[in-house]
């Protein structure tokens, strides 16, 4: 291209057509572009998702007519009052206890994996650990539950292993315990607990690992140089720095346990959890208001939990 031609095209003429006009308009008014970009996702999430959530919240203030079984569309707090009945309080307390225990167990199991992956795994081993956590995380939820049904079954692998080790008496005496026991592992709270821990464990490993990756190793060396025993270094240096990651992970394990209704239904006793209660009330019973009020419980608990976690700086670890 010659110099004169370059000069002539230094300022390009406006592009014709609708496309050109649109492109020019977006360039002149970035807000217009922003509006066009955001409208479809906001319409979808705002109307379909937030709209439904709001509709559910409204229905929790309705009540059900005990004789006709129909929903009375008048504002009342009666349904929330029903939550406080002993049977329903029992469900809430049972679910919260389970969620807390599952969270603690996942944190204990997750820490060594996350720590090893963050500090010692290099090169290929890093990839192995990453995929080793990602594959179980993403593989089918139902298949994982199913695998545990196979493991915990009376004729399954766990019984077989304990039998070979001549330790069957251990399982039997554990199952004879009042609260955690049951007829067999697959119909006991212990079984429910194991499956919960298994299914949500990867959700704990990832944020803990992310937090540990950011701990400079010279801090640990400094602590050791200053005479701290490994145990002291762990308690006073490593654990406080990993805590935001653990809290971030606990958001997942806690929230997922609170809302799950399939695991306790497949592996567990006939005692209800919040999720199962919601499912039962909205389904056969047709008591949508009570089901809606039940769903408000985990939402409120998670709201408080998230607020506390944010104050503890857990979101920086995500």
């Amino acid at each position: 291209m010659s110099a004169s031609a370059l000069k002539a095209t230094a300022i390009l003429p406006g592009r014709g057509g609708i496309g050109g006009a649109l492109s020019d308009a977006f360039w002149r008014k970035p807000t217009l572009l922003l509006f066009v970009l955001l409208t479809p996702p906001l319409l979808w999430l705002g109307i379909i998702y937030l709209g439904s959530l709001f509709a559910l919240l409204v229905q929790s203030f309705f009540s059900i007519d005990e004789f006709s079984g129909l929903v009375v569309r008048e504002f009342t707090l009666k349904t929330y009052g029903e939550l406080l009945r002993p049977a329903n309080l029992d469900i809430i307390v049972r679910t919260l206890t389970m969620a807390a225990l599952v969270t603690i167990a996942s944190a204990i199991l997750a820490f060594p994996i996350a720590y090893f992956a963050a500090r010692y795994a290099k090169g290929r081993w890093k990839a192995v650990f990453y995929l080793g956590v990602m594959l179980p995380l993403w593989s089918s939820y139902l298949v994982k539950v199913y695998a545990w049904k196979l493991i915990l079954a009376k004729e399954g692998i766990l019984t077989w292993i304990f039998d070979k080790l001549h330790l069957t008496v251990l399982i039997d005496s554990w199952l004879a315990l009042p609260v955690v026991g049951g007829n067999s592992l697959s119909v006991s709270p212990t079984g429910t607990f194991l499956v919960f821990v298994y299914v949500w464990l990867p959700f704990m490993i990832l944020p803990v690992q992310a937090a540990l990756e950011r701990v400079p190793s010279n801090l640990l060396e400094a602590s050791a140089d200053l005479g701290a025993a490994p145990r002291q270094t762990f308690l006073n240096v490593l654990l406080p720095l990993a805590l935001p990651g653990i809290i971030a992970g606990s958001i997942f394990t806690f929230s997922l346990t609170l809302g799950d209704y399939i695991i306790p239904q497949i592996v567990g006793t006939s005692h209800l959890y919040i999720g199962m209660a919601v499912y039962a009330h909205q389904g056969t019973a047709g008591n949508i208001p009570l089901a809606a009020a039940f769903t408000v419980v985990p939402v409120v608990i998670m709201g408080i939990y998230l607020w506390l976690a944010k104050r503890a700086g857990a979101f920086d670890a995500l």
């Binding site: 439904s52 994996i113 298949v143 298994y198």
Partner: protein
């Protein structure tokens, strides 16, 4: 790290990490063994014998094929919707600063942050209130809503690494907005979108909790499995289906990993 002592993991840590990984993987491997068992009435271990016949039985089951077909169709359409909405949202959030930005990113994450049962029951009661009959499309509506977030996360991460000067350079060289999108932005975010799309597909293909609320009479593959779990009728067929599901979901996850792994070498990133 100067001394060798610190680069080696303590034995106890190695063992604990190894046990943890084994705990995560052995149950899934067990599924593979059970797909070949000759026992059909119980979950007996060790299997009394091994056979391939259940693969043939499963192959000839129309209900499994129907469920699989429905799952693939739902997942495909949900992925397309999620790709469109997620990319739009990511572009807006990462390229501009505006009031309410935080609120929008929270809104995108919310469907996956709240327990699935809440999303499920609120959609169901909304469909009931609006008198929308349950169909294929109500399932898609639910799935697309929580799939947006995985596409969004992948796209936002890539947008952040992409240098804004690339877009400016393209504009300076005379490309209009659409040409810039086609020739500069799309090649840069392409693999992130592909990875996000695959994860969205895997997420939708596997989803059961929201689906139980938004499906009418149709059974997706997870719904089919759930029914078998609650009331086992065809244990050997369920074993085979479980194994196939594991294999099918592993592939997109491995692919997504390899697509985003080399993300550090994105052009313009050094600036």
């Amino acid at each position: 790290m100067r001394s060798d002592r610190h680069t080696r993991a303590p034995l106890r840590l190695k063992i604990a990490a190894g046990i943890g990984l084994a705990f995560l993987h052995l149950p899934i491997l067990l599924i593979f063994l059970y797909a070949f068992t000759t026992e059909e009435k119980s979950y007996q271990f060790p299997p009394p014998g091994l056979t391939l016949k259940w693969f043939a039985v499963t192959w000839n089951r129309p209900d499994v094929w129907e469920a699989l077909g429905l799952s693939v169709r739902v997942a495909s359409i949900s992925t397309v919707v999620a790709l469109t909405l997620g990319t739009l949202c990511a572009a807006a959030i990462s390229q501009t600063r505006f009031f309410g930005r935080e609120a929008i990113s929270l809104l995108v994450i919310l469907p996956i942050a709240l327990p699935g049962i809440i999303t499920g029951i609120s959609l169901r009661s909304a469909f009931n209130l609006a008198e929308i009959p349950f169909s294929f499309w109500t399932i898609v509506l639910g799935h697309a809503t929580f799939c947006v977030v995985v596409v969004y996360n992948n796209a936002v991460a890539r947008f952040r690494r992409m240098s804004g000067s690339l877009i400016e350079a393209s504009m300076d060289l005379g490309a209009d907005g659409f040409q810039t999108f086609r020739h500069v932005i799309l090649p840069n975010i392409g693999t992130a979108l592909l990875a996000g799309g695959m994860l969205a597909f895997a997420l939708s293909f596997d989803e059961v909790i929201v689906t139980t609320f938004t499906a009418g009479q149709q059974a997706t593959l997870p719904i089919w499995m759930l029914e078998e779990l609650v009331r086992p009728r065809q244990r050997p067929v369920t074993n085979v289906v479980a194994m196939v599901v594991v294999l099918v979901t592993f592939l997109p996850i491995l692919a997504a990993y390899y697509l985003t792994r080399d993300g550090d070498q994105i052009s313009g990133q050094g600036k």
